[in-house]
């Protein structure tokens, strides 16, 4: 096992990608702080959380899928569908939020469950199955309506405007609290439950996991269900943030989520990676946007070019590490 000597301690190779992402985040924050007035404040970091809470939740769900060696392209569409269902039900028939929210979560999970079942039972590549899911969810959005539906429900608006004050003038939104809870629960599940370890085993070597008698099929179905659930939850957070439901919300978000997971050091082949990495990946993406907005003269498309460059660097790094440790 290759290790890197760092100061006094030795860091096992498996933590290295997360460490690199962490260092990158710190370096970017420091560079931003030196370059821009008012950048180096705690609120800037918290704003990254506030603006990307929904992406974080979605990326967490996606991490489960990618750890098993699968992929879920439907996440962005499910997010949009969730905003749409929530808005349509509350504004049309005037359903109360306590009915709408569970329903939205159930629809997202249900879609994930179906996709997971098809992947597992019929041996169709996850790429294709979730692509069909992506079309389906977007199609359902447009079937509900092609225009943006505003949300005026008092509970939602209150939720959207609430500020949770922390110490020293810092504040976060309730969405951040939800996202953090999701992160903690997911980390616990991955690290401390049999299900979590089976996720890693299935991603490491599915055939072996089967022969070891692990419930690989159930696990695969479960990770897509989790991803569907997280996408629906992400959709709810987005509808708090946007206070509208729209079929064109979160277009291309699956790419951001995949990029966050990869930059966080999770191998797309499965079996290796940490949730903390995904959190850092989302933060790095968010910070890039923050820096570009601070820069002012830099135009928005540089975000995409930067993300592409980062992806390239991280993928080559991963390749070097995994190339060294494999037979």
């Amino acid at each position: 096992m290759s290790t890197l000597t760092l100061g006094r301690g030795r860091v096992p190779a498996k933590y290295l990608p997360v460490l690199v992402t962490g260092c990158l985040f710190v370096a970017m924050f420091a560079a931003g702080g030196i370059r821009y007035e008012g950048f180096a404040s705690g609120q800037v970091v918290l704003n990254v959380f506030i603006d990307n809470a929904f992406l974080l939740v979605v990326a967490i769900g996606l991490t489960f899928v990618i750890l098993t060696g699968g992929i879920d392209l439907s996440v962005g569409s499910v997010v949009a569908l969730s905003t749409m269902i929530a808005a349509a039900l509350m504004e049309g028939p005037g359903w109360p939020p306590y009915l709408v929210i569970p329903l939205v979560l159930a629809v997202g999970s249900g879609l994930g469950l179906v996709m997971g079942y098809v992947v597992h039972a019929f041996d169709i590549q996850p790429f294709i199955v979730t692509l069909a899911g992506m079309f389906l969810a977007r199609g359902l959005c447009y079937t509900i309506g092609t225009d943006s539906i505003p949300i005026a429900d008092p509970a939602f608006t209150v939720f959207a405007q609430t500020r949770i004050d922390l110490f020293a003038d810092l504040w976060i939104s309730p969405s951040v609290v939800i996202a953090v809870v999701v992160v903690l629960v997911a980390a616990y599940v991955l690290h401390y439950t049999r299900f979590g370890r089976t996720v890693y085993a299935a991603g490491g070597n599915e055939q072996s996991a089967l022969l070891m008698g692990l419930p690989v099929g159930r696990t695969k179905i479960a990770v897509y269900t989790i991803s569907g659930f997280c996408s629906a939850l992400g959709g709810l957070l987005l509808s708090f943030y946007m206070l509208s439901g729209y079929g064109l919300h979160a277009v291309g978000m699956e790419l951001d989520a995949i990029a966050a997971v990869v930059i966080g050091g999770t191998l797309l082949t499965g079996g290796s990676g940490f949730l903390l990495g995904t959190v850092l990946g989302v933060l790095v993406l968010g910070l890039i946007q923050t820096i570009i907005s601070f820069e002012g003269t830099l135009l928005s498309w540089w975000t995409k070019i930067f993300i592409g460059m980062l992806l390239f660097v991280f993928i080559v790094l991963q390749r070097l590490f995994s190339g060294g440790s494999r037979r």
Binding site: V118, I124, I128, G139, Q207, L268, W301, I305, I307
Partner: protein, 337 residues
């Protein structure tokens, strides 16, 4: 040829559905010296997708995948329109755009064959960065051009036939010649079927892989020219959006396995036509256009399920219990004596 049966059946079914709702669906007329008719429209509007899917077929046959073609479509159109708007000649504009596409494709190929990165990730880089690049070229604006010569590529006619269809036919013929007349097809299938065995048989698989990605990008580039010429403008943000997914779908519907190996150009063309016909059908039978995607999802699901051996087994021959296939231990499962 047996694997072409299902996609062909689906296409015939879709066409029949159209004829049922619009009896004149199959008629083709000559108006103003141009061919007109629903079938011509399907071919004409489907041309960019067919092009991209042809390139994608070869990439998938090597066991790869190219997610970046949509971005390449945008880049190609953006660069060509930028050149033309700056008074460059048509030839220069097209050559520059296609040259850049070849370069981008070779970059993908280098990442896959040279550095050994998984294709889906390697091309994800260009998929993300490429959109930014396209917007960088257009300066975030939609560049409109007014060049009759450029308009010809996507909107013109040649001997009554829409020029786009001619381009597709030429590219298809050239590809079929390279792969089936010459030995490229067999070498691609060999690399996709077993990369290490191919290397040990003396095949320069790296060269082949780079070539295939470059070819896919070139096809995407031509499609990009076609799309931007059709509307006489380049939109870095939306041109070719999601075309990579449609192209992959077309390839899969056409019976080429995402795992690589055997490929079928005819199947891919059928697949692309199914996708395009579907869109047309939705308009012609009066389903609201909003549900296009919904229908697409259903057809994709149906075609993929029908092609999945384990689905057929489960549905058509109900067995007591599903037997987990064990491909990794194939050696031990196989019991020929």
């Amino acid at each position: 040829m047996r694997r072409l049966v299902w996609p062909a059946a689906v296409l015939v079914l879709l066409l029949a559905l159209n004829v049922f709702f619009t009896p004149s669906f199959l008629s083709i007329q000559v108006r103003d010296g141009h061919l007109y008719g629903s079938l011509i429209d399907i071919l004409r509007f489907g041309a960019p997708l067919i092009l991209v899917a042809i390139g994608m077929t070869l990439v998938i046959a090597t066991g790869g995948i190219d997610l970046s073609v949509g971005s390449v479509v945008a880049i190609s159109g953006a660069l060509a329109c930028l050149q033309i708007s700056q008074d460059a000649g048509l030839f220069t504009a097209v050559a520059l755009a296609l040259g850049l596409c070849l370069l981008l494709g070779a970059w993908n190929g280098f990442l896959v064959a040279g550095i050994g990165i998984q294709p889906i990730i390697a091309t994800l880089i260009l998929m993300v960065a490429g959109r930014g690049l396209a917007q960088l070229i257009t300066g975030g604006q939609i560049i409109t051009v007014n060049s009759p010569a450029y308009k010809m590529i996507g909107g013109g006619y040649w001997l009554t036939v829409p020029f786009g269809i001619v381009i597709v036919a030429v590219v298809l013929a050239v590809t079929a010649f390279l792969t089936r007349r010459l030995a490229l097809g067999m070498l691609i299938e060999s690399v996709g079927g077993n990369a290490e065995a191919s290397r040990l048989a003396g095949i320069r698989s790296r060269g082949i892989i780079v070539m295939v990605y470059a070819f896919a990008a070139l096809c995407a580039g031509v499609a990009g020219l076609m799309i931007s010429s059709n509307v006489s403008s380049a939109d870095g943000n939306n041109a070719g959006l999601w075309i990579e997914l449609d192209a992959i779908l077309a390839v899969v519907i056409g019976g080429t396995s995402l795992a690589g190996g055997r490929f079928s150009l005819a199947g891919t063309v059928l697949g692309a036509l199914i996708i395009q016909t579907l869109t047309t059908t939705i308009y012609s039978i009066g389903v609201p256009p909003e549900t296009t995607l919904l229908f697409k999802a259903l057809v994709v699901a149906a075609v993929c399920l029908i092609q999945s051996p384990s689905f057929r087994e489960k549905v058509f021959h109900r067995r007591r219990r599903a037997v987990a296939p064990a491909p990794a231990t194939d050696e031990k499962v196989r019991v020929t004596t």
